[in-house]
């Protein structure tokens, strides 16, 4: 499969169809996989595809530095393709400006599959320009995609609060979660706004709560569960849980799942006069 990927990228670069390919690279075989930006046809040999290709490369599509390279091709897994849909919905990416190479994926992570891969429903990416590879892998039957949240919600509110206190106690406000998220593309994050200061910037529990609530809610109806925030968090905070909770909420109340269909209007910023409101007096 890797040869096919490299050949596809080489052809695109040689033909001048694209100026850059956003792909996975690995400096040494035991080292971590990282994104690479291939601009020369011969450099396609540096591209890798293996179980360590966690990163959601669509994050880089909105970066100024990458945009300045010209028209891009990008490797996406099924999960990453969903964030691309959101980026298109939110006018961050013009779909026709990107050549999307979908990779059939049976999951990343070794020896153990990443959590998100165990419940993956998009082994074959959709909405791409070309797909490389094939897989028979399918989502496990009758799975509950929010099992994690449901399990967590069995705890009492006090236990849940205690859990998050423990988690956010460790947050050092490095904003790696923000940096890696394909959907955190603001020019200036609200947390960096100082007139007025909406969110306390110091890494106190107070500031950490405000920040993490804000981060999660800004992804409401947008997060596609690529899981990158959780993977990169140096403090090991289970951020995915909050995202999943909101995804569950969006599906439950508004029958909406982010990144599934570019034609469905996003859940925030639209409404239905008949939306339920049993919590409002």
């Amino acid at each position: 499969m890797i040869e096919e990927i490299r050949q596809t990228c080489r052809t695109l670069l040689e033909a001048g169809t694209v100026n850059v390919v956003i792909a996975y690279g690995q400096s040494n075989p035991d080292g971590p996989v990282h994104p690479i930006f291939v601009t020369k046809p011969d450099d396609v040999e540096k591209i890798v595809w293996n179980k360590q290709c966690f990163a959601n490369l669509t994050t880089y599509l909105t970066r100024k530095e990458v945009k300045s390279l010209g028209k891009a091709a990008i490797l996406v897994k099924g999960c990453d393709a969903r964030s691309l849909v959101v980026l298109v919905q939110e006018s961050q990416v013009e779909r026709s400006d990107v050549h999307v190479i979908g990779l059939a994926c049976e999951g990343v992570g070794e020896p153990e599959l990443a959590g998100k891969c165990r419940v993956c429903e998009v082994h074959m990416p959709v909405g791409v320009d070309v797909t490389i590879g094939s897989t028979e892998a399918a989502a496990p039957e009758g799975q509950n995609r929010y099992a994690l949240v449901d399990e967590f919600m069995k705890k009492s509110p006090e236990e849940r609060m205690a859990f998050w206190k423990q988690e956010f106690e460790r947050c050092v406000r490095c904003y790696a979660c923000r940096g890696v998220c394909p959907l955190c593309y603001c020019n200036q994050c609200i947390v960096d706004k100082n007139r007025p200061v909406v969110i306390d910037t110091s890494a106190t529990l107070k500031g950490n709560f405000a920040w993490n609530i804000t981060r999660a809610f800004h992804l409401a109806g947008r997060c596609v569960s690529c899981g990158e925030c959780t993977r990169v968090c140096p403090a090991g905070i289970d951020l995915r849980m909050l995202n999943a909770s909101l995804a569950q909420s969006a599906e439950k109340h508004f029958n909406y799942r982010a990144g599934m269909d570019p034609e469905t209007p996003p859940v925030i910023g639209t409404y239905n006069a008949e939306d339920k409101e049993n919590f409002i007096r």
């Binding site: 949240v149 967590f152 919600m153 705890k155 009492s156 509110p157 006090e158 236990e159 849940r160 609060m161 205690a162 859990f163 998050w164 206190k165 609200i190 909406v198 969110i199 306390d200 529990l205 107070k206 709560f209 405000a210 609530i213 804000t214 999660a216 809610f217 409401a220 109806g221 849980m241 909050l242 909770s245 909101l246 569950q248 909420s249 969006a250 109340h253 508004f254 859940v267 925030i268 910023g269 639209t270 409404y271 239905n272 006069a273 939306d275 339920k276 409101e277 919590f279 409002i280 007096r281």
Partner: protein, 145 residues
């Protein structure tokens, strides 16, 4: 609860209300001299659509024991749809807070029209009593220490 206990703790309540319905509903409660507890601090905003979740968090950070968000009934929004947009956000936001273990008894949403002075007074009375019973919102205060 005895009279002394009642006066022992007076909750701080912040009400974010829209300018056209609930604010006027509160005005009407005044015009009709409908008495209610004095704990509530009304913050006037143009529309419930303007009320952002960060305002709710900030109120707790500033020591609020309870937050009220209120505006025009569906279909009555002065700006036609601000309340519909707001309702969607609150629906999602409440679920997030629930996952975080934040006490949903501390946040109340209501549609109160300009004609519902009585509803305003009764609503504030009721939630103030509730806030007194719940006591100080210790959990969030600890977060903010």
């Amino acid at each position: 609860m005895s009279e002394t206990e009642k006066t022992a703790f007076e909750p701080k309540i912040v009400a974010y209300v829209c300018n056209w319905c609930t604010y006027l509903g509160a005005d009407l409660a005044g015009t009709n001299r409908l008495e209610y507890p004095s704990n509530v601090r009304i913050v006037r905003l143009p529309c419930t659509g303007r009320i952002d979740f960060n305002l709710i968090i900030k109120a707790f950070e500033m020591g609020a024991d309870m937050v009220v968000v209120s505006g025009c009934h569906p279909g009555d929004c002065h700006y036609t749809a601000g309340n519909y947009h707001a309702r969607r956000r609150w629906t999602l936001f409440r679920d997030l807070l629930e996952t975080m273990g934040i006490d949903l008894n501390r946040i109340h949403f209501a549609w109160i029209s300009a004609a519902e002075g009585k509803k305003f007074a009764e609503f504030i009375t009721e939630i103030t009593d509730k806030a007194r019973q719940l006591g100080p919102y210790q959990a969030y205060r600890e977060i903010c220490e």
